[in-house]
Every structure is written in C-alpha cells, then in structure tokens.
Subunit: 282 residues, 6 copies
C-alpha cells in the first residue's frame, strides 16, 4: 500500500468529519485528558484495515497508541477484542468515527470476500474484484479483497487492456480491435476480451489474447466455452455473480470469477470502540 | 450542494480510475468518434445523483450531453430509461465507471431511505442519517438521504453539540457537561445529549437541552421516556435500528429515528449505461 | 481547532513567504547556527494564537523550541515577554514573519473583542462575530473571538439557517420562508430570521424561530422588539455596531450583539521577536 | 496578477464559507431564480479588487454577470454605485460574502495607501508595503497597495536580499555579511541593508549596496543619514511609520517610506451588495 | 492521456513560472493587446506535445488560438512552421516559457526515440522506456516515447511485477520469488524477471514468467540466452544501451530493448515562438 | 531551499512512481526486512542533491538512514561511494528510483555547469541559468546550477523586469518601455533590457537600466557593445551559448553568460544504488 496516498486520503476524511473542531470534546476534555479502551467486534468478521485505523490516530496525535490484537486477514469471533487503544481523549474521539468507518467498511469487504472464497474452495477458481469501487477508496477496497482471499482485477483504465462490446463494434471485430491495441500498446500489459457467445470465444482465441471474459453467460454456455478454450487462455466469468451462484460457476472450470458486489454493496462489519478500562488487554 | 467541492471530489475519483489514460479506448477510438446511449435501471429505485453523474462528464469533455429523464427523488421502475447520453466515445467510456459508481451508490441510499420513510409514514417521525458515512462522500451521501425523504443529522463534529457517555463521565454528570459546553459554546448550535436510562432523561431535561437521544433502549423504556419528556425537547432513538423495527420505534411517539445502516451498508442500485442508439429518447 | 486544517494553512502561508528559499539567511547562517530569543509585546494585548505560532516553527524544523510564558486569553501588559524561543537561526528567521503575522492578527482580534465584552459586562449580553472574516482565516479568527470572550455566530452557510430579506421576499413572507426551510431542513440546526420592523418581529414569533435578528434598528425600536419578544426566542442585534454604541445596545436587554468589525477591521497587536539572549526566561 | 493562483485562493475561500451547501438559499430559491442588484459604497473609498470580485462569481456560475461602474484605483464617493450584478440568486448569495470580504479588504488597503501617498505628494518619496501581510492574501494585498499609489517592497524571502541586525551580527559586520551574500548570490537581485546608526550607514555605503534602510531612527538622524548617503544609494525609512509622521519623514529627503500598517491593520471599506432592481444602471 | 492530470501539472508549472504575475508584460501591454505569431523549429525534430502546448494557453486565457500545422509524430524539417498562435499578448508571453519547455522536452524525447527505432527497423525488436523519468513528467515522457515509435515499459511499481536481484536473493531464488509474487498477486499483471546469467535464464523459464530481462549482458551471452529461451517468453535486454549499440543488440533476436537514456538524458528540441505576423499561415 | 515545497514535490513524485503500491517488493519482503547498501558513481561528477535524496526516504519511512560521504558541490571520481544507506528494504526500493532520478538529474546539471565555470575561470565572467527549466523542478535545477558554481538568473516572471523585443516594439522603444515599467514598478527589482544592436545598447544606457542583455550577437559586436557600455551597467550575453564558445564569449569582457542548455538538455550523472553490505563505509 502507498502510505503517502493513504495519508492524503485520511487527512481529507478527518477534515470532512472534524471541520473546524470537535466542539463538544474541546469544551469538556482538557488537552491532557487521557483515555484507554478497546475495539470490539459485535459480530464475527474477517479483519481488514488495522494499519489504516492506526494511521488515522497517528495523524491526529502521535502519542495515541493502538495495539492490534490480530493481524489483517484473521477471522474474529463476535465479542472478541480487536485492538487496545490509549491516548489523549480528544484525539481518540476526533478520530473514532473516521477510523471505524474505514475499518468496518474494509472488514465488511474482507468478510464477504472470504465467504465467496470459501464457497469455491474445492475448485481452483479465483475470486476477483472489479472497478465498481467507491470513488476515493479503490486502494483500500482492493486491499481488503486481497485480505479476504481474493485477487485484484485491473486497478484502473491504465493498467491493462480490456476490450468490451463497444470497442469490438467500433473496430469491426475482436481481431481488428486487438490489432489496434497491439499497435498502440505494450508488451508489458495483458489483454482481455469480453465475449458474449461461442463465436466470439473462437475469435478471441484466434487473436491470442491473455484472458477471455465470458460476460453474462448461462452455465451451459460457460461449460462449452471452457471446453473450447481448453486452457489456451485464462477464463473469467462476470455478470450476475452472487454467493448463491458462485460454486456452480466455479464448477464449470473457469479460472476466475469477478464480482462487483464485493465492493459496491458492502455491509459494514459491526465494530465498536469502547473507552473503558483496557487493562484486561487483548 | 457545494459544486466546487463536488468538482474536487470528481477530479480525484476520475484520476483514480483513469490513471495516465484509458489505454484500450485511446487505441481503438479516435478523438472524434461519437456515441449515443442511455442509462437504464435494472431494478426499481429512487433516483439520486443525476447532477453528479452529469458533472463527471462535463469535467472530461464539455461536449458530452446528458439529458436526464427524471429528477432526483423520482421512483423509477425496472427497465426504465433514466437518462440519454451522447458525446465523444472516449469521454463516455472514461467517465462511465465513476459516474455509475456514484449514481448507483447514491440511488442505493435514496432507495433504502425511502423504504424507511414509507415504513413510518403513518407517524410524524423523521428518519435521519448519522456520521457513519463513507470517508470522502459525506456530502453526497447526506444529500441522497434527503432525496430519499430523510433528514440529515449533524454534518460533522463541528456542527452541533452531541454529549455522549464519555463526555458525561468526564464532566461528572449531564448537567456539568452541558454547563461546560455552554461556557465554551454558542447560542447558534443545538445541544443533544445521549442517555441510557430514565434517570439520565430527567437530568437532560433539567439541563434544558434541545434534543435527547435514547441510545439502544428497548421499546418499553422508550415509551416511558417519551412520556416523561412530554414534548419538552425533541426525542431521537438510535442503535440497532433496521427496517423491521422502525415502525415499532416510530409508534412510541419519538420525533426522530437515526440509522447508520442508511449510509454504512449500502446496496448499490443496479443501473447500466448502454452505448446503443438512443433515438427512442427517454 | 482542527490541527490538520491548521497545518494546511500554515504550509501555504510559509511557502507564500519563503518562495524557493530565504536567500539572505541561507547565505549568512550555516544550517547548524543556533539562536535564542523571545517574543515581546510592544503594547498591552489579549494573547491569542500561541499554538499557531509554535506550529509554524514545528513545520519548518522540529528542533525549534517555543516556550509560551502565557496561555491564550491572558491580558499582557506592554513590554512583557510572551514566549521564549530557541532553535536553528534559519528556521527562526524563515518562520518569524508568518508566525508574527498570525499571532499579531489573532491577538488584535482577541484584544478588541475583550474591549467589547468589557463594555457590556454589566449585562448578560453576549458579543458574537459574523461571516465578515478574512478569506482563509475563518477558523483562526473565530477562535480568537472566543479567546477574547465572545461567542461565534454560524461558521458558514451550511451550519445554520439564516433567513434574510431576499429570502423573505422570494418566499412571500417570513412564515412561508420558514416553512420551506423546515421542509428541506433538519431538526439539528437552529433557524434565525433577520427582521427590519416590529411587524416582522411578530411574524417571526409566529413562525416559532430560534433567534430573531434585529437588523439596523434604532434603540427605541430595539427596546420595543425586546418587549414584544419577551424571552420567547433569543434576540440578536446587528448593523452599525461599534465600541461606542455597544453598551447602549446591551442595555436594551438583547441577548446577542454581533459585530463584523471584530474580524474585518483588525488592528494587529504589536508584538516583536528579538533574537537576543533569552536567559532571563519568561 | 496570476489568475491561476487567484482561482486557487477563491476556491478555498468559497469552500470555507459554503461548506457542504447554502442550506437557507437552497431551500428557498429554485436553481432558475434570477436576481439583479448592485454594489454600493457606504463611505468614500479607493476601489481595488473588482476583477477579484467578479471572478468569485465566475467560479460559482458562469452565467452571473458583474458589470463594474469603475476601474480599480478610482476614488468613489459615498453612496455611489460600484457595480451592477445579475444572475442566479443562489450563486449571488453563495458568493456575496467572499466577494465582499475581499473587495472591502482590498479597497480598505488602497484607500489607506492613497492617504499616505497624498500626504507625501509634494515630495518625490515613494510609499511601500512590507511582508506584514495577511497569510494567504499577499498577492492581493500588494496589488491593492499598488492600486492605492504605493510600490511593493520585496514579495518574499526569495525575491531580494535584506540584511538585518541578526545577519550583521552573525557575519561580523555589514561588509562581511554583504560579501557572503554576494558569494552565494546573483547579479539579478538588489541588496538592501538595515542600519541603526550613522556608523552603519558608512559601512553600508562602503559595501556598495543598492538600498539602505534606516530603521527606527529619529528625524534628525534620518536627515544626517540622507546627507551622508547623498544619492549614492536609495534610502528607505522604516519603523513606527503612520499617517501623522509620514510627511515629516518625507521632508527629510528619503526615497522610500515603508509601512506595515498598510496591510496588517486594515479597516475594511464599507461596501454592500443590494439585490434590488438595478435598472438605473451604474 | 489523462487530461485532468495534465491540467494539474500545467497549473503547477505555470504558477512556478508566473509567481504573483508577469511584472514586465503587465506594465507594458494592456489586457486587450493582441499578438499573432508562430512556432518554428530551429532544427529537424519529431513533434510531440502539441496538445500539451495548446492546453497551457487554454488554462491562461480561453481566447488564445493555437493552430497546429502538424500532428504529433510528424518529422519536421529545420525552419518549418509548427503552429500558428494568436491571442492576448499577456497570455501568450505568460505561457510561452512553460509551453515551449514542455514541447521542446517532449519533442526531444520523441526525436531521440525515433533514432533508436530507425536504428533497429530491419529487426522486429521494440524500443521501450524505463522508470528513469523526470519526476512529475512521467505521463508526458512516456507519451513522447510512444510518439517516437517506442513502447512503454511498466508505468510504475504498481503496474506489473519486476523481480530483480535483491528480490531473488531475499526469496532464495527465482522460483520462490515468483511463487511469493503469485501468492499475493493477480492473474491480470505480467511477471518479468531480471537475470544475470544463463543459469538464471533457465530458472526463469522454469518459473514460467512472461518476460525475461537480460541485464547488462554482453552480446555473446545475449545470443545464447535468446537461443535457450527460444520464444517461450519475451526477452528484453537492458543496461548500457545507447544508439551505437542498439542495432547489434537487436541483431541478437531479442524482442525488446529498454533504454533509460531516452528519458533521463534528454536534449531539448530547438523550437522558438515568434510574435510576428503569422499571415503566411502554416 | 524551501523544505516544505520540496516535500510537496517529493510526495507527488513518489506517488507517481509507487501508485497504489510496490507489488513486487510487498510480496517478497516483510515489513521488517532490513537492507544496507551504498550509492556509487559510475562516472566522475559534481554531486548535487544529497539532501533531496535523503528526504525522499524520510518521507517513506523515518527509520531509513542515509549517510552522505560527500557534500553537494564535491567533485567525485568514478567508482567512489557517494553515500551509505540502511533501512527497511521496502522503503529503500520504493524510494530508489525517485531518489536516483533526482540525484542524477541534479548532479548532471551541476557537473555540466562546472564545466562551463571551469572554461571561463581565467575571466571574471559569471555563468547563469535561464527559465528554460523542467516544469516542476525549477527550484532544484537552479539550486544545482549554483552548486556547480553558476549563478541564478531571475527565478520567474515575477522576480525582476526583463524587457524583450515584443515589449520594446509595443511600447515604441526602449525608453518608453522602461518608463512604463518604472511607473508600475518597484525600486526593489532590477531592470534588464534585451538588445540586438549597438543602437539599442545606446538606448538602454540612456534609460539607465541595471543590466543589458546582448541577444544572439556575434563576437565583434559583443566586443563593441562592451566597449560602449564601459562598466556603466552589467552586461549579459545570451543565445547559442555552448561549451565550445563560452571562453571566447568570456574573453569579450562581458559580466554574465546565460545558457539554457544547462537545464533544458541535461545528461543524467550515472549513479547506482547497490543493496549489498555497506560495511566498508564511505
């Protein structure tokens, strides 16, 4: 993760929440007032974002101490303590909401990704994310998908070639589209083509692309496509992917299943920060 | 909405997605290539974010035209066209993902808020959001809650006083906490106190605050609290609010129900952009 | 105060003054050259901005030490030492102007506010600022007003409702204006209405607003308005407020007197930094 | 003036004031609601900042029209119309405060500078500003001084060499200080030395500097210094300059009088924006 | 190219050059003064950056008109006119230096790249750049390499995997290094390994990477490596590449030659802007 | 040097290179993995930028230690160690490219400047740079010129007056141009005029400017101009300056020779970072 980019994001998020100051806490707590406490999971979850959570407070006051009880990727049961916190009360309360908003969001993504990964674990299929991420949070969301056991699809429009229907139509077919991309392109990026039927699968194979994405196909067609492709390229399925269908999709033998839902429809993991004695430790 | 702040957010989001360029589309489409198309809802939804969606493209290329078929707040049935788009293909594809990510997220919030509002419509209770928003998107998310028929709770730590358990404990009671806030405070902001039992309700009333938040109380205690308060202040309930419970909560006679779920656990509304002939219009 | 926002402001201010470097000091002092010195008030003043002053140097070189002799809000007599400074000479000279410009400006505001507050001290009237602040410095100026004993009026256009003549005219009266605001509004913000005569006072009372601002009224009309309002809402007077008139205004029984002059016409407090032996200490 | 830097400043100022939105006006005015009006001076003043004022509104809504009645530098009598405004009411009200805050501040500086300039008009003495400016506004404040008839002293620490007492002491005299600066320096920048007595005047002359600043000297010593220097370099006086003393200072024959008060203790010029019929025009 | 990122870069560059204003031109030209002129090449060159050049002026004043005579990638002979310019003189002079600095730099890169490409044109070898670019200008420099006929190596540390000697050593060999990368990695990015001898070539082949980089090898070893690899992966040579050696390197049969010199040691193409009558046109 | 501005530049450069993360090193090295190494010059060079290089790593991880073996301005022979490095491997590899790109670029400039300076060392002529710098790097490039023994010409359009042919033409001669500048100008900035023939030299002398720039003149005319000027102002030559001609130009007796090539056509100094045992030290 790029820590400089993380800091920029966190500064922006803190100023969004704090505005010109925390008028309640500044009236009630002196600058010297210290609190201790802990993070607790109110439901079971896969932890993601501990470093992000810690960094929020480091930016506010470098005397805050956050001691994680677990590392990212750990499955944590309901009511377990996740981290121990201690420091100036003003900083703890000023950072609480931003810290939790991110930790809950990232852990929500990791937890849901883990469910997908578990659902396909008897297959060699990989679960990947998409560009359907929350604007501004892509780095953190893709990180959380990886923490949950998924892989990351391309980061953005500049990181690999993905030829879709509009490209194919404008170029007059898959082969000419791939050709144009190769003419302007680079040996260093992979080329993926989105196809809608078996005819297009054949064309994509002929064009010698790296990955074929089967878009919105039904299971029988996916099975046929996998047979046709026969390991010559990687195969991704995409479209209407959800937890119920994911095992059936994996059973077809595809290499990769991509799901936008992992990042565009996140249920926050339920985590609280309690400012009470933390002497029991983790 | 602050349009200058919106532009800053959108520029950041576009650069996050575009990086140094859309390598696929720049290879395939000339700068002059024009496309037309439309937005379509793949499920029923309450629309929120049309202006945001349009602004995304205006920043990329001022010759893109987005013609909305509906205004924000409209309930739109599955398969209806939401907007008509036309312009340079490169700009349409470069902005598509950011535009949709935001429109789907905001419409998801508005749609879910509307469900809450409908659930309590026979009462005078108001549904409000919280500070449990996605870092960077608070302005848009609070706007979407309002579009869905909710109200906005305080924007951030600087916009009103909210005295919680840690403040009460440090100050030695609700009255001294309110007193400290009044000493440092301002006649121009409201004061809300979060209470956990009826004893604290009495204390809050004695302190003459503007709003009393009943935190995580069960229904019978809420009913008692409402009776005790008897219209002397506004009453908010908070904690474990969800669509199933919201009507029962409203039936207690509280003025306000706040729900973090409206913004921290958003299911994106399913909207697609099709670059096909838009000649049918809206 | 939001320290992250403060840092952004100070970085900008330092770069404005330093440009590509302090060509004089970089030619004459080595990086290791250390100086000591002190701040001295060349007139009596109410101190405001010590933390801001210190932070200027912390951003330039974390080995600079600023030891305040007094805390913000203290009345300091002419020729008293205000703080002791010590550190690398290059950093002390690079930060001197920005540090003093802000400290003098903020102390000027606090000093002038204190004069207002003293002038009305036999009344329960509160002195407040306005939005007539210096662009970029609102957080610091409103802080200085509070240090001087005043309160802060709304921070900006988003933090409370203030209905003025143009709003009233467009809505067709105070009542419909308040109604529109309530329809789009929030229980969490106060509503103030600016009125120009007693008729409007009655309308504002009927609309049950939180604060009535008597704009540019003469004393007799203010007295009548206070009588009519009779404690049902808070009463603010505004317009042509200055130190000569403020006691007469307070004597009318209004709750609040707002003055733009506190922040738009600031006379800097006269403070110097002397780089001489500071061994006498504070 | 650098218009890109101006835009950055104005965007920041607008967001400081508008926050997430003008909640009052957005509730009351539709986006289409148009108003007209004018700027009026409530006291006589020298106008400075019309372009800045106009640009504020251009950033908010490019359909706002600002038609200046006078150009910067014009002396305007009380109650004269300064400009005609017309455009969407939301934009006019969202930009009003930032626009006026800057226009009043800049006109206040120009007006006060003009008083200084008038006071010395029978001499060839020039009035100049200092680095005692408001952080963030230096470009605008120095512009306003020039509009008022003054000249600008160095913009910042990087734009010319100014050797002060601490530099002289560290280098062991004026000559060695000038020598060090020449070794690291550039033929393209002038060198000024601040002196405190006639002995130092001689040293500075010997060092062949471009400008000698007589710091905090009394009139008789200034007269002697001018005689000694005798046109060999430019002569500036500085320290305790105010409107009462400025003619006496000029009469000594110095070339330049610098005053921090011009920018650090600004009385805003009193200008209002009235949203009423503007049909009378300018 | 990402036009929003380009604008950010150009704003920064313009403010770096303009500071608070062009004091010479603002004194001499009125805002209405118009000039016309043209760009002329003072040596033969491959043009790159016309859009960037135009955008510089668009940011300063949208009434400036830049009419290119040639498109990027064109070989232009000495003394040919490159573009016609017309607009406010102040804007033309304020943007001249930034515009030319970028156009000359980018054209210098494209021109030098074209020399490399021409030198290997009888082979199928591709010339690529590296990460040895000028900080802040990577997007423009990589664009210029492509304009000159080269391809772009990875954009940054996040866009593909490149395993170098330190990685291999820490992981205990090429195979375990590749394995670790695959465990944390993504199907969507290529994997390249830098090797120093034939033994490592074999290891890299065994690890089934996408590209093998032969680092600083002599010609005979390169030839052997190409033979061993035999088309199973792409082969890149790197290290001590220059125009003299490039044909010999290509003759070995490698697929790719990468050269840092293309971007880290740029000789600006000599282009001038003449503000004289442009009536002859292009 | 302005360290705050330096940090802004370096953060931007690091994010340009790192993107969302160093995917290779994050897969292979743990966060705790430490490396040591050194910088080595692969050709002789004049060192410039050690502080910049160190600051790159300080921004990434404050536990990285960079120990310079030489200070800026030192002539370093091929194969000498330039600095010793030690710290977390991830940070060393994440900062390596940005650090070296800048150090090589700056040392390249210092090295080339030194060659110019050496070529004219028997004369009192000074070598200066121009505004033909790399956008974004002006502060660093001008610093490197100074390290190499040159002086800096004006930093930007705002730091001194430079009257060129277009200005002269628009004003109707050198004298009126200088007059206009003096009317709007400031005693604190020097005035330079660019002249093309002896007639203009006379005019410039008559206008009493500070520096006369002889633009693109041949040697005999330069000699005549120097004779005419005869020490009354500084004399600069400019245009078609290169290492071959520079001594002949200096021999004419001009005070200053300016060369754009110093910064617009930089050959990077060849420096490598080796992560191997650094126990031999410097």
């Amino acid at each position: 993760m790029n820590k400089l980019a993380l800091d920029d994001l966190l500064r922006m998020a803190l100023t969004e929440d704090i505005g010109f100051g925390d008028i309640t806490s500044e009236s009630i707590f002196t600058e010297e007032h210290i609190s201790q406490g802990y993070l607790i999971g109110k439901e079971s979850l896969v932890l993601a974002g501990m470093e992000v959570f810690s960094r929020v407070f480091a930016l506010l006051d470098d005397s805050v101490k956050i001691k994680p009880c677990y590392t990212d990727g750990t499955f944590i049961r309901e009511k377990e303590r996740i981290a121990i916190v201690e420091g100036p009360t003003r900083a703890l309360l000023a950072g609480e909401r931003v810290g939790l908003n991110l930790l809950q969001h990232m852990s929500g993504i990791a937890t849901h990704t883990r469910r997908y990964v578990d659902a396909v674990k008897e297959f060699s299929t990989v679960i990947v994310d998409t560009r359907k991420t929350t604007p501004g949070l892509r780095m953190l969301e893709k990180y959380a998908v990886a923490v949950g056991g998924g892989q990351n699809h391309r980061y953005g429009l500049d990181s690999m070639v993905l030829i879709k229907d509009n490209h194919i139509q404008a170029a007059g077919g898959i082969l000419p589209a791939v050709q144009r991309v190769r003419n302007h392109g680079s040996y260093y990026r992979k080329i993926e083509v989105e196809v809608e039927d078996l005819q297009q699968v054949e064309e994509a194979l002929a064009a010698d692309v790296d990955i074929i994405m089967l878009d919105n196909m039904r299971l029988p067609m996916i099975e046929q496509a996998v047979k046709v492709i026969n390991g010559k390229t990687l195969v991704e399925v995409s479209g209407n992917v959800n937890l119920d269908r994911v095992a059936d999709l994996a059973a077809t033998g595809v290499d990769i299943i991509s799901s936008g839902e992992l990042t565009h429809s996140v249920k926050a993991a339920d985590i609280s920060m309690k400012l009470e004695s933390n002497e029991k430790g983790c």
